[in-house]
Amino acid sequence: MRWSNTGAGLAFVALCCALGVLIATPQEDSAAGSQAVSSGTPPTESQKRTPEFFVMIDPSHGGNDKGAMFSGKLVEKDITLRLAREVRKELEERGIEVRLLRESDIDVSLDRRAEITNEQRAGIYIALHAGRPGKGVRVYTPLLTDAQQAQAGRFLPWETAQSVALSRSQNVAHAVSEELKKKGLTVANLGLPLRPLNNIAAPAIAVELAPDENDAQPLEGQKRQNAVATAIALGIVQIRSQAGARQ
């Protein structure tokens, strides 16, 4: 009896020591992040089967990666998630299947975002961002040099996987931009070497909302988010026939 009590006591001390070491040791963010991805986003039944065509919406940032900071407690990762849900609603209402790269506040690395999109063979990929400076909406397409575009072949280099879809990405960006302009929003189009766009082997664009201090509709305002989400959905509906090679 006394021995078992002593054993239990020793085990308790060992447990406390381990706890003490854990408290004193700084945690690795990346390790925590990858754990969140693997346990946080198990594929659902609908995700296991590959549909003919679906749009991958990427609410950028998440978890420890807050993205841009705005007034008050407003952070980019929350704005992008809210907008992503809005875009999903608008697309589903128009009969287009949508998947979100994150549904909650978790860390997902840029490479992992591209991996998931490529593995699931998305028809179109759209990354959502929010950031200063300026006003309105900026629509970004991937930027590859002529030499990088020439690398397109059966096996795609990771850094230039976008080379097979660059012209279709530009078409998607054009269609979305036109719809945004119709909603009365200021739109700027830019080509940038932005990750993970260059790693995605499907039409890929990024849409960034810019806060406008003079705008009556704030960045997180429902009306503005609705307008942007509807424009993105209408742009995709228009382009679907061109972009959906597997449709």
């Binding site: 980019e76 690395s109 040099t145 830019l190 932005l194 990024a206 960034e208």
Partner: protein, 196 residues
């Protein structure tokens, strides 16, 4: 029933663990604060001599989302590595002064530059350059475009540039601009033209 002396031992061990944990955490924080403070005050690289030259810097202006060429008198050594480093540092110096057209965090600096071939350069920046950089696609891309364009305008023959942060690779500058890939200076030149 656990003997009394054993209970006292466990209590003492737990107390020792707790105290040592607190001491370690405090020491770590103090050391980090001292390191940051020292890094902010000390220059990342020694000053160099050289001939004063009248060069052009491509500077970012956040207010109107533009890049503009501005003249500057900078001491540039003949050595290609040092010339490249001082050129980049002169751009950052413009952003660190008040008022700044494109504010960067205190301590943002170039630690060193390395040519890994005749046309490929690695730029090693301080941790503060990335850690304190405002997050946003445009803000980050303007910084990189400004540095790369100024570099290629004043140090001929560079076709590829890659950025490190405190000697290590980093995925992005502040959540957006890619720091893993080599930037093709020709592509950056095309991009910069859109903002000029």
């Amino acid at each position: 029933m656990i003997p009394r002396h054993f209970q006292i031992t466990i209590a003492l061990v737990l107390l020792a663990i707790l105290i040592s944990g607190i001491v370690i955490i405090r020491m770590t924080h103090k050391e980090e604060a001292l390191t940051l403070q020292a890094a902010e005050v000390a220059p990342a690289a020694p000053m160099v001599g050289g001939k004063q030259e009248h060069i052009q810097l491509l500077l970012a202006y956040d207010e109107d989302q533009a890049l503009r060429w501005r003249p500057a008198d900078v001491f540039l050594p003949a050595d290609r590595n040092l010339r490249a480093r001082e050129t980049l540092r002169s751009v950052l110096a413009q952003y660190l002064q008040m008022p700044s057209p494109h504010p960067l965090a205190k301590g943002a600096d170039i630690k060193d530059v390395y040519f890994i071939s005749d046309d490929t350069m690695i730029v090693d920046t301080t941790a503060q350059f990335a850690d304190g950089h405002p997050s946003g696609i445009l803000l980050e891309e303007l910084t990189l475009a400004s540095l790369i364009e100024t570099l290629t305008a004043n140090v001929p023959g560079i076709t590829k540039v890659k950025f490190l942060v405190d000697g290590k690779e980093r995925e992005t500058l502040a959540g957006h601009a890619d720091l893993m890939s080599f930037y093709q200076t020709a592509a950056v030149h095309e991009l910069a033209k859109e903002f000029e």
